[in-house]
Symmetry: C2
Subunit: 426 residues, 2 copies
């Protein structure tokens, strides 16, 4: 079977299969030495999403293009199949997958490898609550964000009709965000700013009905940050008018409404699900050592190698990203961890277990609270307010590798800063 | 019924209803004197598409946002209902319409007016050929273009699978464009450049299968241009590798193939329908004077007023855009005509029939042939090659009113010009 797309002397190259195209898979594919490796990425999505720019892209001039990075690049002879991996046979070194391309029938494909890196990531966790999949929006990639933007536009048009009653307007313009982590907080902040600073100029008669609210089972938001920063975030939101409903348990979701244990039925126009992670089927199915509690993850050693359940090392198989964790060094499911592991692996893959063990370097944790406020923290410093917001901006810029995108984003931010976001609309 | 959204002294204002948000409706809403008028736009689309930028937006860094102009602006107190007009009662001055908002049930709405301007435009003409609506893509607005881009991406991924045969690749990568007017020619040129200059870098093993082809019933392309320019365009395309099939009659379209009188069955991956105009139902239904041959259009006098079929003037009712024509001065269905009529009407609406008659000023006719070639013509000058391409660029820039968009487009063009379109992908 032909799995090579580039190069002529491909026989002398090691064929590396990367499963997944998120932060981990994308970074690995970008950092590898292509004079040694022939790379095939297998992923249902040929585009990597820069999630820190996603909430901003929802509202800006550029649309989603600035938050997207195609895995295939001119400068990089990487091959990609748009498919979902069903299983991996570590013995015969074969990947079994099924193509997943819109408007075409799925096809079974087999790909053999010399080395494999699993970074299939996670999916959103609905915590077994019925109706979440059908009646809520996710914000994990630009397709999600695009669907969300269209829905917001539809909601505004519906609320704007002369036949829509004030009560119905209030229901429609209640945007409920479930999850008080950085994603939910950032989305609430950007949405609140865009609605009140920009959309309200075009629908002034609707502004009184706007209601952006965060719901979380925990007693606080941003619970991964230090307590004073998390309290600052909560107060900053409340002062501004973003409603925060902590200690709230959702038991069922329907079209346009949800049931909570504490407050009974709550109607909404849009429900955005921005909570934690759950496993994709491949992770459940793989026959290897996994963690036992919480989110079940693939357990690697400090060389990021996979092991069979009996402890034996699986030959030429590695795992990074949200679906993987190190047995002796458990780390959270963040982009920072995924990127650092991917960079380490790009350097140490050829050492095949004989490299210096992977070490994590704590860097930063940022959340945008809207209207030039924010919180920012690393292992040495923590910031709040305008300074944190500036740090957030510079961090966001550093995510994209492309200096031309940086120029365009900077030009746009500058124009917006001085003249307002005239063009912005959902 | 409340149709006012802005202003406090709205009783002293004339309530103007604009039907449609294309070039005509958008320009009129942008040029009106809002100290005299309260404006309600009724249109199924709250966004105006800058069609000259659409083909470029398909392939560039910005996505479609630069080709979009929302009707509602901060600076303009315009009200808009996302609805389709079913009928107009000129006697009681009432518009009957049905809301058209995705994921919400349609609702009947009535809006009364003091003055009305009909600019509902046209839809694509399938010439009664069965299957066109279901199995082809249009390129009339950014939603169309977005669907087309997703399809191209799917086609590339399908062709790229190791299980896809060379013969199937050839079928899939045949992009058939029906219509040799400026829209079809421009789209073919941009698609050809993007496929061969950018996409080919990421799918080098697929380039040999690329086949961009234009089909037209006429014996030439760009038949509205002078003959030597139209011949230049044809030769320029053929030399470069865009296939041009003139004098070809399509009799049926199916999923993935079409039947032609001259060449029998032709398979394709994508069929793009870029031909002439047909009437929307409202135009058919309106009880007023219309033209008798070809595309049936609403006939106005040189004050752009509508008349009953018995010749009597319809009080306070005007028509502009593609669906309208002047009895004594027939003009083509172009953006230039629509914009000039809209500007004239914005100035002369209050004169209500007593203004200086509308006159058309011939300006320019441009088509982009890709790779820095083009043809450009006005009543005094005609250009071809690189100079025409530069004129095309400056014309495209002049379409957008927003100077910040101009800056961003210029920065992007400059970066692309010097460094290539690394980011470009379908």
């Amino acid at each position: 079977m032909n799995t090579a797309a580039f190069g002529t002397d491909s026989d002398s190259l090691i064929h590396l299969v990367i499963v997944g195209s998120g932060w981990a898979g994308y970074t690995l594919s970008a950092e590898l030495d292509y004079s040694k490796y022939k790379v095939t990425v297998i992923s249902p999505d040929p585009i990597t999403t820069y999630t820190p720019l996603l909430a901003s892209a929802l509202c800006g001039l550029f649309g989603f293009k600035v938050a997207e990075e195609p895995v295939r690049r001119r400068s990089r002879p990487v091959s990609l199949y748009q498919a979902v991996v069903d299983s991996v046979d570590f013995g015969s070194k074969t990947v079994h997958c099924t193509s997943k391309i819109n408007s075409f029938e799925p096809e079974r494909i087999e790909v053999s490898y010399d080395q494999i890196v699993l970074c299939q990531g996670c999916k959103g966790n609905d915590f077994g609550i019925p109706g979440v999949g059908e009646h809520s929006f996710a914000v994990r990639n630009t397709k999600d964000a695009s669907a969300l933007r269209n829905k917001i536009s539809d909601i505004l048009e519906k609320a704007n009709l002369p036949t829509t009653t004030p009560e119905r307007r209030r229901e429609l313009l209640h945007f409920a965000i479930v999850g008080g982590g950085p994603t939910g907080v950032e989305l609430a902040a950007e949405l609140f700013d865009t609605m009140h600073q920009d959309i309200a100029k075009m629908f002034p008669h609707l502004e009184e009905y706007f209601n952006i609210a965060i719901y979380d089972v925990a007693s606080n938001i941003l619970s991964n940050f230090e307590e004073d920063l998390s309290t600052y975030a909560l107060e900053s939101f409340r002062r501004r008018g973003v409603k925060v409903h902590t200690s709230t348990h959702i038991t069922e979701v329907r079209d346009g409404s949800m049931t909570t244990k504490e407050k009974g039925e709550i109607k909404f126009g849009i429900l955005i699900w921005a909570t934690g992670n759950a496993n994709v089927p491949l992770t459940e199915k793989l026959n290897c050592r996994k963690s036992k509690e919480g989110l079940v993850r693939l357990l690697t050693d400090d060389q990021l190698r996979l092991h069979y359940t009996n402890g034996r090392i699986i030959r030429d198989a590695f795992a990074i990203g949200d679906a993987a964790d190190i047995e002796s060094l458990s780390l959270p499911t963040t982009a920072e961890v995924a990127v650092q592991k991917a960079k380490w692996l790009a350097k140490n893959l050829s050492a095949n277990g004989e490299g210096t063990p992977f070490k994590f370097h704590e860097k930063r944790m940022v959340a945008y609270l809207g209207a030039s406020a924010g919180v920012w923290q690393n292992d040495k410093v923590k910031l709040r307010g305008r300074l944190a917001w500036l740090s957030w901006r510079s961090t966001s810029l550093s995510w994209t590798h492309d200096w031309r995108k940086k120029i365009l984003i900077l030009v746009n931010w500058t124009l917006n800063y001085f003249y307002g976001k005239e063009i912005a609309r959902i």
